[in-house]
Symmetry: C2
Subunit: 680 residues, 2 copies
């Protein structure tokens, strides 16, 4: 029909001929152009803003005149006068096609807009949330055609939005009638449809056209810390983040001690479940309160967690995860009502999505890391290490991805370390030791100055120097090694051997004095031989896991390493490599991904398509079980030592040459040294 | 393949050729013969028992030799020695086809067996419950192929039963792991799939092969009484019935007073919801306890109720049902978890089904009556009257069904009657009055003797004569009319007019003395003019509803009348017609259906197909709204009088000729008489 004007949408390039008078929104819908609308074309919501272009378009072969769209109408005038319409913009539901026209859909008018993550690795999230708002006008009840209010609402959603299959959970059913009447039969509904749901669920209903925003919580439920991001479900923006200690710590610091607690104490699993749910409720409440939103606005929660946390969150006794064959009660992703977990600081009809677990030791947190870092799409052979009380490791590229977990224990989080503490103001997080004088300088959390900078004392007067956090302990041990205070087996030398009075005799072993403010009533902070041993065990477990995956993959080296986890974000790659936490790699190829599990949770929160994708990916990831693999033990024993720079660490050796030391000749060589000799 | 034996199943007549050695169960499955099996052919459950026939079968054209099936095998021997196999029976999963054979599937081996109802109207229920047991053998977990226990269970159900799409609610997920291990990876699961469910829900799981029975509750939630039947979900048998008063009565006797209570008292609806749910819990508990079963064995509940009860059960404020246009929050049938209603005396994962409502005044109880009585399948024009505090009426036949409700008030249940009481031992339920002497005789509930029989006094000594129940009040009023104590306007004559000292002056009106045991310290029971007025109002409402439906249908008479409701079961058709409660009809065409709503609930409990059918039927039933129909008022006013036998009641007149009386000539004719004159 050549008489009908040609309408071309950018950036999609979709085009078609439409009769004069066709609203732009209608044309967009018919062409499948991604143009948002909440009010269904009634000129209320302004989500369908478009930018028409005028002039010559040789590329498209059209000339667009100033009269290609209908003139501004009263609805647009009113909207502009009240709220302001950006220059050049039109409301797609009001402007009608009058001639050939090129129409740009700005990204904020797209439902499936791309959101660029601000974190380290630049990648985009295509917004595709499970929950959307829809404005709908419902037929009034009629005594002669008796149908329920819900059935008329469903009919209206079908007629006005093409949405069939509506289910109203009890909390919504209870408020349906008063809200419909308050809105004079016009309401805005929040509908949720997960990627496996055959129906839409009514999460909430508001009288009239509702402009309120809707939110979701992406929760990284760790053994030690519970971190949550409050996200705007329209654009994926994080409007608040918070973390609390996992209150289950009082039942056991690491996963296995919690499993033991459940095994030894009847009802112990229920205690832990109750505790963690209460913490999540209080986290949700404080995030909502800080963001000045109502808990009812939180409509979805996505959880990532390791298998033990997964089971304890769901109220499943984790006992099977404590013994071979480490069987999960369920491994697939789960969708259910938040009320089933007694999560009551969110919308009463809020939905929960839990990512799938990869295996009994590699949980939904590892799945989330895979979703965020996409090893399955990498050309390079990438090793992703999510450092925590339990470390998850992923190794692979486009062809194949392997996964394992490694029981590092809580040393990296500051536990089992004499001066260890969690990351909080006053904790030492960065350390440098002068190789000649053996004198340390350090920084504490909450202060940008180094300890030898002028003004450090006054600047830290409020907090003091309270201890060493996880990243600090890694740095100080690595620096001790580089400064020749520690030999490659991990022994601290004596004052004579090292040539520093900071090496203090503690019976048969030595400590290194990092900080002493005891004269001023402050803390005296040392690194003991026991601290070194704890870190050696933890890093050996991590390294052994990585080596096991490399063996399985048949590679001797990796192209790049990603340190993930809230803690991983703070580790210095150089120090991690000096310590032998990770395999050798070019230092510039060791990057931090921040809290990748949390990022994966956010992606799943923002996109049902991503949920579908990670389910498929998880089925492709091959699990390697460390607990029964003899080579893991072998790697673990071999990895206890702090590596020779020249022994299998060529990249590290390029950067720094570590001193060859052996303090073990002295009588106080310690039990660890003897035991290792026996194994050699 | 002529070399393969012919297998013929009776009663289905299905036949086919199968290789020698094919198990009978396998042949039955391939032919689609309805042969039960819970264990999937493992010789455990014995549900697949069949009876082979031997000899000549000219009808089928086969001769069956004694060796047509394989000989008894060890599994059958063992089963027979432990549990006994009826003579001539074989286990279908063990016996294999060896030659041409005719095999009868006894009704107890059919899944979709027909169950003949024992109630008044003989009809069959085809068993098709939503919940079934399945025995399944699950693969053990394997560290090298990590999948969750639930996923392996789902795979086993798919492989062994062809059942895909399994969802485990939290209560089952929590017990899954210990039960699988206790059963050594063999379990019996209870799976539920409603007629609209895309998936099967795991309701419960048992270690090994589980022989326990599973049950459902069919609940008729009335304004005054809550009645429940505990049904075996395998065969539909009622193994227990119980009823309790609806505790909401303390908030208002009839529906509208409960709606008013909700309107006048903030939180009043919540109080009533809590009360009714507590009563249902205690009913479930006592039924389970009496039947000596565990509450966990109750896996489904089906509710029928009027719209106000429906909303209060679901926790929806019923305020909209108290005012035009009487909009229901939802009219379709509902399926959800029992836990959503805080019903905790049943299985933790039990499912609820609520029948659809027809309209704001005609509820799921009327739908249940339609399901039980099937007016839409009747050749005759049938009027079904469900008498209660609110009466529901259905009128129709195969071509068309109409429905309405009528606010009869609680008089028929003994309320608003001076000596009224609910049906309980000691209550007068049957009355006869001698037309000459005006002397009454009566029967009370709990005693088979008439009051003038020898031994009545001693037989009723324990209870006494305490009052008049609903059916008794109808009989006494009708008998008073037949005995000439009451004129056709409903006035009780004076002692002189009637010629009996039992007519006692009460100021301007009279009472009739039915029973006087005051000399012995017992009760003195009279029927007052106020009682007559209350019954006149109630019966006029009922009659007006029936007339309105007849007007709408365009008929002057009906072919038959069904009195439904627990109360309807006790009404004498003759007395109901004398009173003018129901339209004229041949007396032998007036029958009682017992608690048809409760029967409808049972049918829906036993058959998902019936649920689908009643949903379709309800959409076809045309609702007539009495509250706004002027003709209803007209019929109501005209129906206040107790009918002339000769005036529009030809069938009644054939049976008895009522005296023409008018006591209104006396000065004490009463307000009612004057008011009616003013209207004439």
């Amino acid at each position: 029909m050549p008489s009908q004007p040609l309408v071309i949408f950018t950036p999609s390039g979709k085009r078609g001929h439409f009769p004069v008078g066709t609203p732009v929104l209608t044309a967009a819908r018919q062409l499948g152009v991604d143009l948002d609308s909440v009010c269904g074309g009634r000129g209320i919501c302004s989500k369908c803003q478009v930018s028409p272009s005028f002039g010559e378009f040789p590329k498209h072969g059209v000339t667009v005149g100033q009269d290609a769209l209908s003139p501004w109408n009263a609805v647009e005038e009113r909207y502009d006068s009240i709220r302001g319409l950006p220059k050049g913009r039109r409301l797609g539901c009001q402007a009608t096609v009058q001639g050939d026209v090129v129409i740009d859909v700005p990204s904020e008018s797209q439902v499936h807009r791309q959101v660029v993550r601000k974190e380290a690795t630049l990648r985009t999230i295509v917004m595709d949330p499970a929950t959307h708002l829809y404005y709908v006008e419902v037929a009034e009840p009629d005594m002669h055609e008796p149908t329920g209010d819900l059935e008329r609402l469903a009919a209206a959603l079908e007629a006005q939005w093409g949405i069939g299959g509506i289910v109203a959970p009890m909390p919504v059913l209870r408020k349906l009638q008063p809200v419909l009447r308050k809105g004079k039969w016009a309401v805005t509904v929040a509908l949720n449809k997960g990627h496996r749901d055959p129906v839409h669920r009514l999460i909430d209903i508001y009288p009239g056209f509702h402009e309120g925003r809707i939110y979701g919580l992406a929760i990284d439920l760790g053994s030690t810390t519970i971190a949550a991001h409050l996200c705007d479900l329209r654009n994926g923006n994080v409007i608040g983040s918070a973390g609390v200690m996992n209150p289950q710590i009082r039942f056991g610091e690491d996963l296995m001690s919690r499993v033991s607690y459940a095994m030894m104490n009847p009802g112990g699993d229920v205690e832990m479940t109750t505790a963690v749910r209460a913490a999540i409720n209080s986290l949700a409440q404080s995030l909502a309160s800080e963001a000045a939103i109502w808990p009812e606005q939180i409509m979805e929660l996505v959880f990532v967690c390791n298998p033990v946390m997964h089971h304890l969150l769901l109220g499943i006794d984790p006992v099977e995860l404590g013994q071979a064959p480490f069987a999960l009660a369920t491994s697939n992703s789960l969708s259910f009502d938040a009320s089933e977990l007694a999560l009551d600081q969110v919308n009463a009809a809020a939905r929960v999505f839990v990512l799938p677990c990869i295996a009994g030791h590699v949980g939904a947190d590892a799945a989330a890391v895979a979703l965020a870092e996409e090893p399955d799409k990498s050309d390079d052979m990438v090793l992703i290490v999510d450092v925590g009380t339990n470390a998850e490791l992923l190794l692979g590229n486009k062809s194949r991805v392997l996964a394992c977990s490694s029981p590092t224990g809580p040393a990296f989080e500051g536990a089992q370390i004499s001066a260890g503490q969690r990351a909080a103001p006053g904790a030492i997080e960065r350390v440098e030791i002068d190789a000649l004088t053996k004198t340390p300088r350090f920084k504490v959390i909450g202060c940008d100055l180094w300890s030898d900078d002028p003004g450090f004392g006054p600047a830290t007067a409020a907090t003091g120097v309270t201890g060493i956090c996880g990243s600090g302990i890694i740095e100080v041990v690595a620096e001790m090694r580089m400064a020749g205070i520690l030999d490659q087996r991990g022994l601290i030398g004596s004052a004579e051997q090292v040539g520093s009075a900071r090496c203090i005799s503690e019976g048969r072993t030595h400590s290194y004095l990092l900080h002493d403010a005891s004269a001023e009533g402050g803390n005296r902070i040392t690194v003991t031989q026991g601290d070194i041993r704890a870190i050696q065990l933890a890093k050996a477990a991590l390294y052994a896991g990585a080596r096991l995956l490399m063996d399985e993959m048949g590679v001797q080296s990796v192209d790049r390493i990603v340190l993930a986890g809230a803690f991983g974000a703070h580790i210095s790659p150089k120090h991690a490599m000096v310590l032998g936490m990770i395999p050798d790699a070019p230092l510039d190829k060791v990057t931090s991904a921040g809290n990748a599990a949390g990022t994966g949770a956010r992606i799943a929160l923002c996109s049902v398509e991503a949920r579908r994708a990670i389910e498929a990916t998880v089925r492709q990831i091959h699990k390697v079980e460390t607990a029964i693999e003899p080579r893991f033990q072998e790697h673990f024993v071999n990895a206890s030592a702090i590596p020779h720079a020249t022994d299998g660490f060529p990249n590290l050796d390029q950067v720094l040459r570590l001193p060859e030391l052996n303090f073990n000749t002295q009588s106080g060589g310690g039990e660890g040294g003897r035991r290792r000799r026996a194994r050699d």
